[in-house]
């Protein structure tokens, strides 16, 4: 087990200036994520979970505190291809085939044609979409489209995978399957994963670390290190340990709400 810290935040603040006055999206956030961890961010809307992920990705810039990704600023880390980002909508280009979509970042980053083809084939295999390379997105189900968007984020070998409610728009059955597959993928690739969700079972099932957040101002109320083993069949969700962690997450969410009233 390595103990390399890949994401480290100290006293992170982010305030948006809006017409209705300042909005404290993040306030005093301290967090460190080690290599190979699966970290879920859970909390109600407006708690800053997505904002935190966007700060890591240098899509937003903090107004206070410090954050490093692989020991660099988020902007530098992005230029070094430190992370792949998966959005809630698969966002595949309708005019590109599945293979073409996965190839998009590789083209932009200037990989050779041969290497592009080799990588596209490899990551499509990884997300169980081998054979769909020549299909267009509209020919695939929502779950398959989201798998293709994960393949796109994996194509250029970033060590960190940032996922913003990637399965939020999918139905329960598809979501369960993708969760199981995501765990398998994480086990095989050893990536560090940051995963935003508002589903308690999803967070508990997937994570080695659960970050519970609460809104106004967006802050961390609890960080839970999961004692669950790395091998997790779906029925682990009926075990007492699972239920206990889920209970603690729920308590954390309730406490965050209590402050406000």
């Amino acid at each position: 087990m390595t103990n390399d810290v890949v994401i480290e935040a100290h006293g992170l603040d982010l305030t948006f200036q809006t017409g209705d006055g300042p909005v404290h999206a993040l306030k005093g956030v301290d967090l460190s994520v080690e290599a190979g961890e699966f970290v879920s961010f859970i909390g109600p809307s407006g708690c800053g979970k997505t904002t935190f992920l966007r700060v890591v990705a240098a899509l937003e810039h903090p107004t206070g505190g410090t954050i490093t990704v692989n020991g660099m600023t988020p902007d530098e880390a992005r230029r070094k291809r430190a992370y792949g980002y998966v959005f809630q909508a698969a966002g595949l280009y309708p005019w590109r085939t599945i293979g073409g979509n996965v190839r998009l970042p590789l083209e932009i980053m200037g990989y050779s044609k041969a290497e592009q083809a080799e990588r596209v084939a490899r990551v499509l295999e990884l997300v169980d979409l081998a054979g769909f390379e020549k299909k267009f997105p509209w020919q695939l189900s929502g779950g398959m489209q989201q798998r293709a968007s994960i393949a796109r984020a994996l194509a250029f070998d970033a060590d960190i995978l940032l996922m913003d409610e990637p399965f939020g728009a999918l139905d329960e059955i598809v979501r369960d399957r993708l969760n199981e597959e995501l765990l398998g993928l994480w086990g095989r690739t050893g990536k560090t994963i940051g995963f935003v969700t508002h589903s308690i079972p999803e967070a508990v099932y997937l994570s080695t670390k659960i970050v519970v957040m609460s809104p106004r101002p967006g802050r961390i109320t609890d960080v839970i290190d999961s004692p669950l083993p790395k091998e997790r069949p779906l029925d682990i969700r009926d075990s007492p340990e699972f239920i206990e962690i889920a209970h603690r997450v729920r308590e954390g969410l309730r406490a965050g709400h209590g402050d406000e009233v």
């Binding site: 990705a57 792949g84 980002y85 280009y93 932009i108």
Partner: protein, 310 residues
């Protein structure tokens, strides 16, 4: 079959209305003609007829009604007469081996088509360049868009003669180029507006995705904004080409042009030949329909190739 029935029904109703309108519109002319030919008509002086109501004239001179459908210079020709005139100035001339005679509509349609296509190309290029400038520069948006909108509020009929005069001042010979400029003037606007919308169509998530790859601006343009704008572009092009044709015909109207469909309309008017006007109008409509249909086909082929056609 089920789809063709309603289309034919609407067509039949339109043609029926047209035929029904022919008798009342032409009755006075037909009565004048009949009287000259020695037929007794009621009332028997042109002045009295001018004061009589149309319904009354039709009822009192029912025997003359068939003649309203067969006048040489009708106020309103029948669809059949317009069709015959169209055939006489196109198909029949082709059969006689004089397809490009200056008396035929093929020659005049070709003249109009050339200027239209030239103007369309010019207008489309200007519209696309303008849209790119607007999307990438706030300053351009503030300085270009108001002028583009104002330009479309000026009646083109007022502007056309000035464009022709100014063109000849800078040494441009002939009518082709000034007509194309007028045509481009009408055509660039829909392309500008449509392309601006199309280039701005990618959502924030799609732009964020490219930011996560640190994508250079020109690559986001080529890989995201341009392909996204293609369906918008085609919609604008279809409006643009119809506008370009109108522009060309307007450019031929008030300017003393002697060839082109606009010139045929003007000459028909000056020589009191309504059949020539109607035939030229229909030729223009058929040309516009053909151009828009052609673009529609291109659109479906391109979108299908891009994987976006359904």
């Amino acid at each position: 079959m089920t789809r063709i029935a309603p289309v034919l029904t609407v067509l039949a109703i339109l043609v029926g209305l047209w035929y029904a309108a022919v008798a009342p519109m032409n009755i006075r002319v037909a009565l004048d003609q009949a009287q000259r030919d020695g037929v007794a008509v009621v009332p028997d002086t042109p002045v009295a007829r001018r004061e009589a109501g149309i319904v009354g004239l039709l009822v009192q001179n029912a025997g003359v009604i068939p003649a309203t459908y067969d006048l040489d210079r009708p106020r309103l020709p029948t669809p059949g007469q317009v069709g015959a005139e169209l055939w006489k100035t196109t198909g029949e001339m082709v059969m006689n081996g004089r397809a490009f005679s200056k008396r035929g509509l093929i020659y005049h349609g070709w003249i109009t088509l050339q200027s239209t296509l030239f103007g369309f190309a010019l207008g489309t290029a200007l519209g696309i360049i303008g849209a790119v400038a607007i999307v990438y520069s706030r300053t351009m948006e503030m300085s270009l868009m108001p002028w583009a909108i104002i330009s479309q509020t000026i009646p083109i009929v007022a502007l056309a003669p000035m464009i022709i005069v100014l063109s000849s001042q800078v040494g441009i010979e002939g009518r082709g180029v000034p007509k194309a400029i007028i045509s481009a003037y009408l055509c660039f606007f829909p392309v500008l507006v449509g392309m601006t919308k199309g280039l701005r169509a990618p959502g924030p998530e799609q732009l964020d995705l490219l930011r996560t790859y640190s994508t250079p601006g020109w690559q986001s343009f080529l890989k995201l904004r341009l392909p996204t704008s293609v369906p918008y572009l085609f919609t604008s092009l279809k409006i643009g080409i119809a506008a370009a044709l109108v522009g060309t015909i307007v450019g031929e109207l008030p300017t003393g042009a002697i060839s082109g469909l606009g010139a045929r309309i003007l000459i028909g008017d000056q020589f009191g030949n309504p059949l020539a006007i109607w035939a030229a109008l229909f030729a223009a409509a058929i040309l516009a329909g053909a151009l828009v249909t052609l673009l529609g086909w291109t659109q479906s082929v391109v979108l299908r190739r891009m994987g976006m056609g359904l």
